[in-house]
């Protein structure tokens, strides 16, 4: 399913960030994608199921969450963090600002696949531990 992906701050993301970014809480707050309930039915995923998010630059597996800000069909939201930024596109259109919002992304169900922790994700994507 094709969606427009936007990324940004949430209060839970901010709270976990200030507690220190290593640990389960940070992953619970940020390794998620908030979806319109209708989009979830079309995609065949339920709250808590794993979803693969793919863009031109990469892919990441995160947990589906029913949006409390619906309806916004065709728009998906991910809290800012290493999971979202693994799929944010290149370039800044000569403004210095990367395209953190409005990314064309493809979603597919990935039930049962493991969601990586921040440490694992960084080690896997950037090859450093």
């Amino acid at each position: 399913m094709e969606v427009t992906l936007i990324t940004g701050r949430t209060v839970a993301q901010g709270e976990e960030m200030e507690k220190g970014k290593i640990g389960e809480g940070f992953k619970r707050a940020c390794a998620v994608v908030e979806l319109d309930p209708e989009d979830m039915s079309k995609l065949g995923v339920h709250e808590g199921d794993e979803v693969r998010v793919e863009t031109g630059v990469g892919e990441v597996v995160v947990v589906a969450k029913k949006s409390r800000d619906a309806p916004h069909p065709g728009v998906a939201f991910m809290p800012m963090g290493p999971w979202a930024n693994a799929v944010v596109g290149e370039g800044t259109a000569s403004t210095g600002m990367p395209p953190f919002k409005g990314i064309k992304a493809k979603l597919s169900p990935a039930k049962g696949e493991r969601v990586l922790s921040a440490e694992e994700l960084v080690a896997r994507v950037y090859g450093r531990e």
């Binding site: 940004g8 701050r9 901010g14 728009v75 963090g81 290149e90 403004t95 600002m97 395209p99 953190f100």
Partner: protein, 443 residues
């Protein structure tokens, strides 16, 4: 010991009414702060979540070391680089920023702050169209129409509405919320939108069109389209009339405008809308600045180098060209050959392409917590928390400077960001012995 009127060093709202109780150098109670602010105060206790010892990478692993060795290696990395990038700065004091800018100039490096990924486009628009702003005190005392556009303060700035914009009683707004109207423009019905008097749902990436339609109505034109950017004509005309007929209107805007399609052009158009509205009434605007001292960085860099962010000292003088000298462009072109990151976590918050280069070059990270950035760094230096463990100056989002207070001691041996910058500067200048040229690790 109970401290009152403590300033919270999390977001640009810089709440200055926090009460904190400290016992045996531990924070045991925090009053008035939001969820994020409370987490920040309490996190200073959780030593297992803190960085406490300097570390350097040896044989591919980060190992604990002495502060002197960490500083020597950091200075070595920076000195042997041709074009180091010095990034972060928004979550520390102006004093640390000032020393850091001196360091960047000494090194001939590029210095940039998180401005670059929040309101950098707003700065570009202000260069073009000016800045009809005000202080938050004026909003509290005067505003009867408050608009949040592409901004969700219930999550990003949880006390902004209760301290400055909607709920407080003001000099001319004695009944507080009853004397004000809240309008939210966003692509989702956010938690801020849910409590608004009116929510305008705009199509993603069409903010510019909606602002243009509002300007057309404000300037007396006839709107022929049935709807613009997904908003029906009737709603646009009503909003424009509401804006023209208020006594004191304020437009708070956020990443929904600066990070979406159009970027600085969205802000440029919004500034023009506010200018047009001032023909009819008093209207101002204010960017919702994120980190607590992101404004301070632009102020300090402004008076030391003449520009608000993204300055390249490589030519021997300050060169400012956003799109070229901005951190993500420098990284994505693979131009910098070393980096120092302070009080920020670009490995979490920069796009993949930028981080891929950051992971290839020698990296010095200075922070209070372990983060994905300290995870990939070659030198890690722990620092004390400004506003909790050290004093300093910070600028609120409306450019009002406030003095951060010290309410407890930092962990043993942990220095302030300013002191770390001063010691690095001394080593880079060769004033202290023991500077080692580091062999740059080939990766």
């Amino acid at each position: 010991m109970r401290y009152t009127d403590v300033i919270c060093s999390f977001c640009g709202t810089l709440c200055d009414d926090i009460e904190v109780v400290v016992e045996d150098n531990r924070i045991v109670d925090v009053k008035h702060a939001c969820r994020i602010g409370t987490a920040k105060f309490l996190s200073s206790n959780e030593l297992e979540h803190r960085l406490l010892k300097p570390m350097v990478r040896k044989n591919g692993k980060l190992v604990e070391t002495s502060l002197d060795e960490a500083l020597d290696r950091a200075a070595g990395i920076l000195k042997s680089a041709i074009k180091p990038l010095l990034y972060g700065w928004s979550s520390t004091s102006c004093e640390a920023q000032s020393a850091g800018i001196e360091l960047a100039e000494e090194l001939g490096g590029v210095i940039d702050a998180t401005v670059t990924v929040c309101h950098g486009p707003s700065v570009l628009a202000v260069h073009d169209a000016g800045y009809p702003g005000c202080t938050l005190g004026e909003v509290k005392n005067r505003a009867d129409l408050v608009i949040y556009w592409g901004s969700n303060p219930m999550h990003g700035h949880p006390r902004h509405l209760s301290r400055y914009s909607i709920f407080p009683r003001g000099y001319f707004r004695e009944r507080g919320q009853s004397d004000r109207e809240l309008v939210v423009v966003d692509v989702r019905k956010t938690d801020t939108a849910k409590i608004a008097n009116r929510f305008i749902k705009v199509n993603y990436g069409e903010d510019y069109e909606l602002i243009s339609a509002l300007r057309k109505v404000v300037n007396g034109g006839e709107l022929r389209e049935e709807s613009v950017a997904g908003v029906p004509r009737k709603e646009i005309i009503e909003l424009a009339e509401k804006m023209m007929n208020c006594q004191f209107g304020v437009l708070f805007f956020g990443m929904g405008l600066t990070q979406s399609y159009g970027r600085h052009r969205n802000i440029d158009n919004a500034i023009c809308l506010v200018r047009d509205l001032n023909v009819h009434t008093k209207f101002v605007m204010q960017p919702m600045r994120g980190h607590y001292n992101v404004v301070g960085f632009s102020e300090v860099l402004g008076w030391q180098a003449g520009f608000p962010y993204a300055v390249d000292f490589g030519r021997g003088f300050a060169w400012y060209n956003p799109g070229e000298t901005t951190a993500n462009d420098v990284l994505q072109r693979g131009e910098c050959d070393a980096a120092l990151v302070i009080a920020s976590d670009p490995v979490s918050h920069f796009p993949r392409k930028s981080v891929e280069h950051l992971a290839k070059i020698p990296l010095v990270a200075i922070d209070i917590h372990p983060t994905p950035t300290t995870q990939i760094a070659d030198v890690v230096i722990p620092s004390a928390i400004a506003g909790i463990e050290v004093e300093g100056t910070a600028y609120r989002m409306d450019s009002v400077p406030l003095r951060l207070r010290k309410i407890k001691e930092p962990p043993e041996g942990v220095l302030s960001d300013e002191e770390i910058m001063r010691r690095l500067l001394a080593r880079v200048r060769g004033a202290e012995s023991g500077v080692q040229e580091l062999e740059v690790r080939a990766r």
